[in-house]
Symmetry: C2
Subunit: 492 residues, 2 copies
């Protein structure tokens, strides 16, 4: 039985007790496992939170984040935090995205028409989760899309997001053949399968499309470009905007969270922070309020390519116009001239936007702009983004965030090489780099590495200087031991 099955079953069966006393005993009772339909009842975390209830998912999140459960509840109720947790994703280990919790990262996986298969995608999922992705998005656009997605959801302990328009497009001959009823059908199927959040490009309006003509790189969101093409072809308004309530009805039944897509995000530095992007952002704010009327959870997608001096403005405007719904950004990349290294160009922007207040950072791999990432690209992207998110947590002074850094720094100064590797984001790589020149076990306690050699290690010389003035390393050793218990005792 999966972690959440009994929680959800209880909630569906009417045993659920809302904090404050009101019993939800009128809910139709179900038999069997918790993945049954909710028969129209609102199952969203936001709905429970607004009724004053602290769900098991909220308790779980509170423990992970070292926050008070009531704070989690109130943030979810306010819309400033989301817990993407589809009732059909039983083996999910609930996590939260929001300014009150640690900065999160997402890894995109999924195939395209030219490459990949299920095994390769499951390998990517494994790499992503192993190196620390907090959510994954399955962006498959080729092959048997529902089958790949089912395999990913079944195997994933982290929330799974999708962009349903990809599957919808795969079912029509030309993009202009898309209809809302087909989209809704796909959305419902994916919701029933257990997708935790979905990117919906409901904010790209027909009147925004002319703004794009001034740009160098036009529209760089696949969903955004598909909607623009559809609107230009039919001379009609965005059907996702016009039928937004219908989508909310599906979402609240299964507790799918919105990731309101930034279909007009800038695709290069020249296009950053332009009329098109900001016009859409305002509509996303309007849609946020609509979703919240249904108690449906929302986060807002953000760019993309933004120079450093314009990053803060992105967060400030998102918070103002989108009512502080969690901001979920792709990078942003801070330059355009480094294809092959865009995990780095974007980690710079991601760290900064996380510091300024974004709640989740969508990774970019070294392959961005060049091809579909393979499992090693996924690893490189995830690690670059663990760095960015952790840098953001340190800069925001999150309680306890620095403990692991401090422990590693003690290990470094005290020449405990094995602990230094263990405390690293990627122990195997750290160890391999050290061992490239000095492989022998002897060097795991040596007071130097090959960078400076035995005569020039500054930390070793500092210890000599301290010895000259009568200081030993007992105090540092004591503090190191205490930190290790705190960091590794708590599961690292």
């Amino acid at each position: 039985m999966a972690l959440r099955d009994s929680w959800i079953e209880k909630r569906l069966s009417g045993e659920w007790q809302v904090a404050g006393g009101e019993q939800s005993g009128t809910t139709p009772s179900t038999h069997g496992n918790g993945t049954q339909a909710s028969n129209g009842r609102n199952m969203s975390q936001m709905h429970f939170a607004r009724q004053g209830a602290i769900t098991e998912e909220m308790h779980y999140v509170a423990k992970r984040e070292k926050l008070e459960p009531e704070l989690v509840r109130s943030e979810v109720a306010r819309g400033r935090m989301i817990i993407p947790a589809n009732v059909h994703h039983g083996n999910l280990e609930p996590m939260a995205i929001g300014i009150a919790s640690k900065c999160k990262i997402n890894a995109n996986i999924g195939n395209s028409a030219t490459s990949s298969n299920i095994d390769e995608e499951l390998k990517k999922l494994h790499h992503a989760v192993h190196y620390g992705a907090d959510t994954v998005m399955d962006l498959s656009t080729g092959g048997n899309i529902p089958e790949i997605r089912k395999a990913i959801i079944d195997a994933s302990p982290v929330p799974v997001g999708t962009v349903p328009v990809y599957e919808a497009i795969s079912r029509v001959r030309r993009p202009e053949d898309l209809t809302f009823s087909l989209m809704l059908e796909v959305i419902e199927e994916q919701a029933e399968q257990g997708v935790d959040y979905m990117t919906i490009h409901a904010g790209v309006m027909r009147e925004h499309v002319p703004f794009v003509r001034k740009r160098i790189t036009g529209i760089v969101s696949r969903g955004g470009s598909l909607m623009a093409h559809w609107m230009e072809h039919h001379k009609k308004q965005n059907f996702l905007y016009e039928n937004f309530d219908e989508i909310c009805k599906v979402f609240k039944k299964h507790d799918v969270s919105f990731s309101l897509g930034d279909g007009l995000r800038p695709g290069c530095i020249a296009d950053a922070s332009d009329e098109a992007q900001f016009a859409e952002l305002k509509v996303l704010g309007e849609l946020t309020k609509k979703a919240w009327e249904h108690d449906v959870q929302v986060m807002i997608e953000g760019p993309g390519h933004i120079p450093m001096d314009k990053i803060k403005e992105q967060v400030d405007l998102e918070m103002e116009w989108c009512h502080e719904a969690p901001f979920y950004t792709l990078g942003p990349l801070v330059i355009d001239i480094a294809p092959g290294y865009d995990h780095i160009t974007s980690a710079i922007g991601a760290a900064m936007i996380g510091w300024y207040g974004a709640s989740m950072l969508c990774y970019v791999t070294p392959k961005e702009h060049l091809g579909l990432p393979n499992p090693d690209d996924v690893k490189q992207g995830v690690i670059a983004y663990k760095i960015a998110a952790h840098a953001a947590d340190l800069a925001r002074h999150r309680p306890g965030a620095r403990d692991r850094d401090d422990a590693l720094s003690y290990a470094r100064f005290l020449f405990d090489w094995n602990k230094q590797f263990e405390l690293s984001l990627d122990p195997e790589t750290a160890r391999a780099m050290h061992d490239e020149n000095l492989p022998d076990d002897f060097y795991k306690e040596a007071k130097f590495c090959s960078m400076c050699g035995p005569k020039f290690c500054s930390m070793s010389i500092t210890q000599m200087a301290e010895a000259e003035s009568g200081q030993d390393q007992a105090e540092r050793k004591q503090k190191f031991a205490e930190l290790l218990v705190k960091v590794q005792g708590a599961g690292g």
Copy 2:
């Protein structure tokens, strides 16, 4: 004959005409090549600048930076820009470090006692310069140090910096055997050999050492720790501080620039921006004024490990206390837990500090904290720092800085894959990543890559959407062609 030989010969021979009319005809004339001694005359760029003279080096820099020569002169005179250009480094292609010019990067090369040889170091030099390092530092601490350095200076078109205390230490049995006269001897020899700038740890004072005991990682500058050890052993003040004028006299004769070392820079996030670091920074400001009294050029070294929220303060204080002398920082790293990826953790901090006003960024390679970098590590470090410095130039809105980004973005939108690779910081890597899935020549004009496949490329769909409304790509093609002339015509 090397680029600068005739310039320097002219200046030594008395042919030099100071702008404004005053002829410097009293200078003793020399015969032969320009690498002869200056017989005690002040040969520093700052000295000429302050006399109102625009040297050939300043003209050269003005052309490279697209600045007015008079602006370069006045910035050098003011001390806000330096042109590290030892009169004995004839084949140097002069460059500038300062807030008015583009953000620069330095690559550290050099061996240690445990590894490396001359060929390997020349390979590192080649990689560093090929991928765009603006200066290199030879930090060799083992083997035949003067021989390695000579080979590097002879081969290097970019300024070469050193840390002379390393060679001095290699000549004594124990660090405490160091004397000022030995240091001065080494400094003079290196100056005569053509070293363009030297790190001198004259700001670490005896009274600062106790501050370090509270730190997790003590002193992480090799020079800083050696001076601290020497002071603690002898119970005496820093001999570099006490004999600073003697060093200035050597420097002005050969035009060596100071890189005033931050011997007490923090070595971990916990130690960032502490009493020790700031106490030393204030002394560096005092020494800057002393050096300027000799018309000797100065830049100030900076940290190290600093969380994002404290980076701006570093620049603000440096500018205030060190009178706007160019700031030359190592990273900073914004977290401590990613050994093996510290080129990324530090590129984040480097980009930000460059935006805030640092003039040169000393790279960090993936091997930092783990071992001596090999040539591929040098490449990875240089590219990460080209990204950081370029991001800083974009964020500071340097005129023309974005042209190459815009050209590459047009290439991207117009599916000119070959131009996209050409305009990249590392064309071979970009091409190889693209070709991993789609190697055929046919795909070099394809309207997709393997990331999205033929049906899902947002840029291709945008072009379809624009075609629906009657827009073709003629205007973008025209602008792309114009930018290409500007970017590639000017040497890329």
